[in-house]
């Protein structure tokens, strides 16, 4: 703190001036009440000359005859620049800064002054995320707000993003927050054909148009969204025009990306040596255990060696593997040089009657993986009209068209990174010049797809609404809004005659189209009145109707005459076709009342009745209330004079939000249709549960908002707990019923956490430095499942994530690895007998008991932002950190497989046990035998903590006196880096990973899995921003 005080002192010292040719004088006042301001810094831009105002707000300053620009700065007020020109008297009225307390915050169905807010809301301004070189808004939000955990599935461009506000609140229903763009709840469920990959629907939004993002975290803020508020609400407000002159802004940036991290794989020599050891060991093991019944050990070894040699002959494609003639770096081949480009133009302005904001943007980005690309062209129009003194109306419209060349999910042989499994002795290309694939290659070679497969997903998205507002009397108004979010998606995929999918059928073509319509119509009444100048009252009530309709169709054909003919018109045979209609509807009634006494004591209540078509008539409506209160202590006499503490608000809230994020009609016993022998079938599809109802989350929050030193240092601190009950849970039921799961309202889950935000303007003079830190720790716990049920383990022999009572959601559950027996190289496992706890080990995997091995949920997440400026130069950088989460390296069963298979191995495996007495963690290699490379083993779990230099931007704005000559307002150049440095002890590629084999949107359990998942891109961009 001492440093800060020192800076304040320094800042207030005015400098003496040398002789100048022109004297400017004037008075600086507070715009609000015209009172003179003492100590305002008056500086001549681009020089060191400056002064400060006196008791009467007066100043004088000498400036060059040619003029220049005077800059007025004062704590708690917005800085103001005035071009001197011919003036000699310059009087300035300064506006109070909106930065902290007087900022307007968007809340559900309205807005509030920040100091009066009683809920917990994370706020991110559009400029904080604009121009981030990513494709979707959530990615740009990463690390910016406390308590919001954002994780990309992997580094494929356009792939899904996981967002958790204050932890997971559901097991089966979805956990993604509700996104509302300019009042329209938008669709965030994937819309594409998810057979290959789930695309992120938020890719369609050009986030450079975003004015602000408010994340409603607690129940008092979110309960007004009722049945869909349990996972938090992300309110996105786009930019609108302001009265005044026309502004034209143009942005351009060009970027280059590469992977954040790579892994080290064996070269040909290491590979061959390793497998030769494995063959000898395999033979010995076979004989010793009588597996194949060899007559002698020598015979067994010889047989294993001959098997290996045959295999290496094949894999090497006839090259001399004994002398390592070929040494292919398959990892390198899976990546491509990736470039990106982003262009944006916006025009805004307005008169008293009409204000407009228009923008157009184009962005394109190569994925770092081969065959992966996306682009997006977008248009936005926001217009507001004042029809009369009582009526206003307007429209918002966001249009976009994006193209995604997707690559299949991590589980496909066609996914590029599965190329690392290929043997290094296999030549990249065969004698015909084509990529080597089966049968020479070990597996289908994903590089072949670059020659044979095209996949295009075109998405046309329209998000728009119109509103009209009428003020009956100043205190009573009515607002009608009607809008929608419409997605038209058209997907075509052609797997050519050499591709994995098309090779046996002479080419395979797929066409998928989907139209998803979300409409929203609402009527709001607002009453706003202050009684006796002390009792401020605001009441908002409304009714809202939201129908959803999704209709998709798919047609597949095969057998094409030529790979150049890719449309189904050329398919000899149509082999698949379907169309599916999906609908749900919500009908809601809601109200909220805010009351404040003297702007000091704050109280708010809200309630929402939600009806949903997803539940039976008995349980169709749910009620979601909330109450919250705040007390601004610094407005009390005992604190109002405190010179250090400038603001302190205590606030608390309690409320209930809901979740209906399940499939439709799950309350009914249903039969669905299929076919056999090309005749229709009806099969039992869902077992009835007429009692199905909402999942409810009750949340308590207590927090403070604080400001020190005239709020130069400010922030928030929150503690919360969330109890989810009546969990919508796909409860496993005995397969002997003919069904596997039934969606039930059963079980409880809890989240508890703290969030801390600190923002400071550390330096406010010529050299400016402001910084922010956010920190959040959430503890999730599954409190109860179905009666008598302790565990939901759908992982089978492979996936480790489970739902277990008293543990966080999705913990890894399996056998604990105990290292290697130094005597014989056997992998050892802790028995972990629950009846007889000890550290005893066994070499029999089946004899070991499953225990909790790790937790994919982080202990805490944190972010830090910094913004510095000096003389037109700016330096912004932010760090983002996730700490204490574990990742299951599921792909390492093959990449570190102990010679079981012929897959290439990471160099970590070179330390395998060789002879008695060796102390190592890597078991003996045994060709064809599992030895410590079983699934569900803690050996493959790695700490996924990381700290990243998320963004780093160095910019320079040309001084106004230079650009004035060319009649432009501003011109800025910048160089920016994204994911530049990652600090982590993670063993795999990149620790920010959650394999896209699992659907991020619908599966909150199977997270933290790395399976040949693409690492994150590291991107450098050069850009310029021009203002006219």
């Amino acid at each position: 703190m001492r440093k800060l005080t020192l800076f304040i002192l320094l800042w207030s010292i005015s400098t003496t001036l040398s002789a100048q040719t022109k004297i400017i004088s004037g008075t600086v006042t507070d715009q609000k009440d015209n009172s003179p301001l003492l100590g305002v810094t008056v500086a001549l831009e681009g020089t060191t000359s400056g002064t400060a105002t006196d008791m009467d707000g007066k100043y004088t300053i000498a400036v060059p005859a040619g003029g220049g620009t005077l800059v007025f700065t004062y704590l708690g007020f917005s800085a103001k620049s005035v071009i001197i020109g011919d003036q000699t008297v310059i009087n300035v009225a300064m506006e109070r800064s909106e930065k902290f307390l007087d900022e307007v915050v968007v809340v559900g169905y309205g807005s509030q002054i920040k100091s009066q807010v009683t809920g917990s809301i994370g706020i991110v301004k559009g400029e904080e995320i604009a121009l981030t070189p990513v494709t979707s808004v959530e990615q740009a939000l990463q690390g910016k707000t406390a308590g919001v955990f954002i994780e990309a599935n992997n580094g494929k461009v356009g792939s899904a993003i996981r967002v958790r506000v204050r932890g997971n609140s559901s097991i089966t229903a979805n956990n993604e927050p509700l996104y509302v763009v300019d009042g329209i709840p938008i669709n965030t469920a994937p819309v594409n054909d998810e057979e290959n990959l789930s695309l992120n629907p938020l890719n369609d939004l050009d986030f450079n148009n975003v004015e602000s993002i408010e994340i409603l975290k607690d129940a008092s803020a979110a309960a007004i969204y009722g049945s869909r508020g349990a996972n938090g609400v992300v309110l996105i407000t786009t930019k609108r025009g302001k009265q005044g002159k026309m502004n034209v802004d143009f942005d351009y940036q060009q970027g280059w990306s590469k992977p954040t991290r790579l892994r080290e794989f064996m070269n040909s020599e290491q590979y061959v040596t390793y497998l030769q050891q494995a063959a000898v060991n395999g033979g010995k093991y076979d004989f010793a255990n009588g597996v194949s019944g060899y007559a002698s050990e020598e015979e067994a070894i010889a047989d294993y060696q001959s098997y290996l040699n045959d295999e290496l002959d094949r894999l090497s494609g006839g090259t001399d593997w004994q002398n390592h003639e070929v040494n292919t770096d398959w990892q390198k081949e899976a990546f491509q040089k990736a470039t990106s480009r982003d262009i944006g133009l916006s025009i805004s302005g307005g008169t008293e009657k009409i204000q407009y904001f228009l923008s157009g943007g184009y962005t394109q980005q190569d994925g770092i993986m081969i065959n992966n690309f996306m682009n997006r062209a977008s248009l936005a129009t926001n217009i507001d009209c004042k029809i009369s003194s009582k009526a206003e109306a307007g429209i918002s419209l966001q249009l976009s068209r994006s193209l995604n060349n997707d690559i299949p999910n991590d589980n496909y042989f066609e996914t590029p990174l599965q190329a690392v499994a290929q043997a290094p002795i296999t030549p990249l290309r065969d004698s015909t010049g084509h990529y080597t694939t089966e049968p020479t290659a070990l597996y289908f070679n994903p590089l072949v797809e670059t020659e044979f497969t095209t996949s295009n997903i075109y998405t046309f998205r329209t998000i728009g609404n119109i509103y009209g507002e009428y003020h009956f009397i100043p205190s009573l108004s009515m607002r009608v809004e009607a809008g929608g979010d419409i997605t038209n998606l058209s997907q075509d995929r052609y797997s050519g005659s050499g591709s994995n999918y098309g090779q046996s059928v002479g080419g395979y073509g797929e066409v998928f189209t989907n139209t998803v319509e979300n409409y929203d119509v609402k009527l709001l009444l607002k009453y706003n009145r202050t009684f006796k100048q002390k009792h401020e009252t605001e009441v908002t009530g409304g009714v809202e109707y939201q129908p959803y309709r999704g209709f998709y169709s798919k047609v597949d054909g095969q057998s094409f005459p030529n790979d150049d003919l890719k449309t189904l018109a050329s398919a000899a045979e149509i082999v698949y076709g379907t169309s599916v209609l999906d609908q749900y509807r919500f009908l809601s009634y809601f109200a909220r009342a805010n009351y404040s006494y003297n702007k000091k004591y704050l109280l708010a209540v809200s309630g929402r009745f939600d009806g949903s078509s997803r539940f039976g008539t008995e349980n169709r409506y749910g009620f979601f209330p909330s109450i919250s209160a705040g007390w601004i202590l610094t407005d009390e006499s005992f604190l109002s004079d405190n010179s250090t503490l400038s603001f302190l608000k205590l606030r608390t809230s309690y409320g209930v939000t809901g979740n209906a994020g399940i499939g439709n009609f799950q309350y009914l016993g249903l039969y669905s249709a299929s076919s056999y022998n090309q005749l229709p079938t009806l099969y039992p599809y869902n077992i009835a549960n007429p009692d199905l109802k909402w999942e409810k989350t009750a949340q308590f929050d207590i927090g403070i908002d604080y400001g020190f030193f005239d709020n130069r240092l400010n922030g928030e601190l929150d503690y919360y707990f969330k109890n989810t009950s009546d969990l919508l849970l796909d409860v496993p039921i005995a397969a002997t019923t003919g069904f596997l799961v039934q969606t039930q309202n059963i079980g409880k889950m809890q989240n508890t956490g703290i969030e801390l935000t600190i923002n400071g303007d550390i330096l406010v003079s010529k050299f400016k430095w402001s910084a922010g830190i956010n920190f959040a720790a959430n503890r999730n716990k599954v409190v109860a499942l179905a009666p008598g049920q302790d565990l939901i383990d759908e992982g089978g022999s492979e996936a480790m994530n489970v739902v277990k009572v008293d543990e966080p959601l999705g913990v890894f559950y399996g056998v604990e690895y105990a290292g290697v027996d130094p005597d014989n190289g056997d992998a050892l496992f802790y028995i972990n007998d629950p009846e007889n706890p000890s550290r005893a080990t066994t070499n029999d995997f089946n004899a070991a008991n499953f225990v909790v091995l790790g937790d994919p949920n982080p202990d805490f997440i944190a972010g830090m932002t910094n913004s510095m400026s000096y003389m037109g130069f700016t330096l912004d950088f932010s760090f983002q950190s996730v700490y204490g989460n574990d990742v299951n390296l599921n792909g390492d069963h093959w990449m570190e497989s102990n010679g079981t298979y012929f897959d290439n191995q990471t160099t970590a495996i070179i330390n395998a046990w060789q002879q008695p007495g060796d102390v190592t963690d890597v078991p003996q290699a045994r060709l064809t035998f599992e030895n410590g490379n079983q699934f569900r083993l803690s050996r493959y779990i790695s700490d996924g903590s990381y700290l990243r230099l998320k963004t780093l931007t160095l910019g320079y704005s040309l001084p106004s006196k230079i650009i004035e000559h060319v009649k432009i307002n501003s011109l800025r150049f910048y160089v920016s880096a994204y994911n530049l440095i990652t600090f982590t002890g993670y063993r795999g590629w990149d620790p920010e990973v959650s394999s896209d084999v699992y659907n991020t949107y619908s599966d909150p359990v199977d997270v933290g899995v790395d399976f040949y998942s693409a690492p994150q891109p590291k991107t450098v961009v050069l850009g310029l921003s021009l203002g006219l």
Binding site: F665, S672, S674, N677, I733, S797, H893
Partner: protein
Amino acid sequence: MNHKFSIANLLIAAVFFSSCTKVLDLEPAQSLSNDVALSSDEGVKQVLNAAYDEISLEDLYGGNIMRNSELYGGEGEVIWLGTYIGPQEIFNRAILVTNTDVEYFWDEAYNAINICNNVLTALDVVDEADRARVEGEAKFIRGALYFELVRYFGQQYKPGTPNEQLGVPLVLKPSENAEDNSAVSRNTVEEVYAQVIGDLSDAKDLLPEKNSVYATTYMASAILSRVYLQQEHYEGARDEADRVIASGKFKLVANYADEFGQDENTTEDIFSIQVSTQDGINAMNLYFSTALNGGRGDVQVEQSFLDSYDPDDLRKDLYYKVGGKWRTGKFNNEFGNVTVVRLAEMYLIRAECNARLGTQVGAAPVDDYNKSHTRAGLDAAASVTLDDILTERRFELAHEGQKVFDVKRLHGTVGTMPFDDVKMVFPIPQREIQVNPNLEQNPGY
């Protein structure tokens, strides 16, 4: 604008919204409610067709029932090359209780059984003329599945003993809610076989001689013949096989190779799963065939097995080499039907049983033996021993799903592991034991 007018507007809006409550009544577009589905003759027949659809899945007769038998007893004959861990464990006879292939087999089988049980309780609404057939088909599928379940999850049937070793739970009524059939216990192997024979015998009596590609009385006999053979009840096996052969409805195809990978049922097929480019999956193709034929190429045939064929045996010509490894060519049509039982097996069962019993029901063992033997381009034998018949069976039916069950009924070994080793039956899936505490795990797991 005056206030009254605006308030009227508001009222209209409120009425508009409240009348919308009905909008929450939506009907599913892709599904029907239970009572509708089973309320008509047409509906029940479509539900019956769903039972066939269910057994045509990869984990049942779509292929894995046969594939797993070939892997489980495949030591010395084939090698599992694939990277799927489930089949690898089955091949290694080191199955974890979490094995997903085992789990899906159990799950899908009971799903199909529940469908059959639904059909069997809704027979009242079926047209009288078709009622026997519909009942017979449902019982055929249920009986066949209990047979597959009991021989994978229960130790080999031992004639002349009470067979009290545990089989699988018998579920014979449909599940109306999640509690029905959820806390069942395992029945003994004896009880399950009794149910299997009961269902298949009923089916045999109820089913017609011809029924498109669906169950016929001879299909029931063919499976029944297998059941008796597995029980070492040779008279029963012989008589059912004889009934199929004597019907004259089936005929060996002239060329051995033409029996396999066909789009339509051959004259020799008794029971085949229907696969087309638009419908169904051929999982035998998926695992046994290589990439160019639409498969994964996961199963290699050992050189030593090929070497054991007579050099002139045409059946050997069906093998082909890809990537230096031998593969069987029986499943090279990705969209071909999956044959479950064919006539050649009936000849070999009749031959074996007649030879064992010293009878000549239908034909002399040597004549039945020569049926497949000469078709394979080999000289007709003048006389045969039981061993000759078993050897012929091994070559004729190679990779078609009889492998481990033959080891079991012949009391053989796999590698050095005896047929009745605790590891020679599947574990009850861990998932199932977790949700149903009444289920007892097999010893050794």
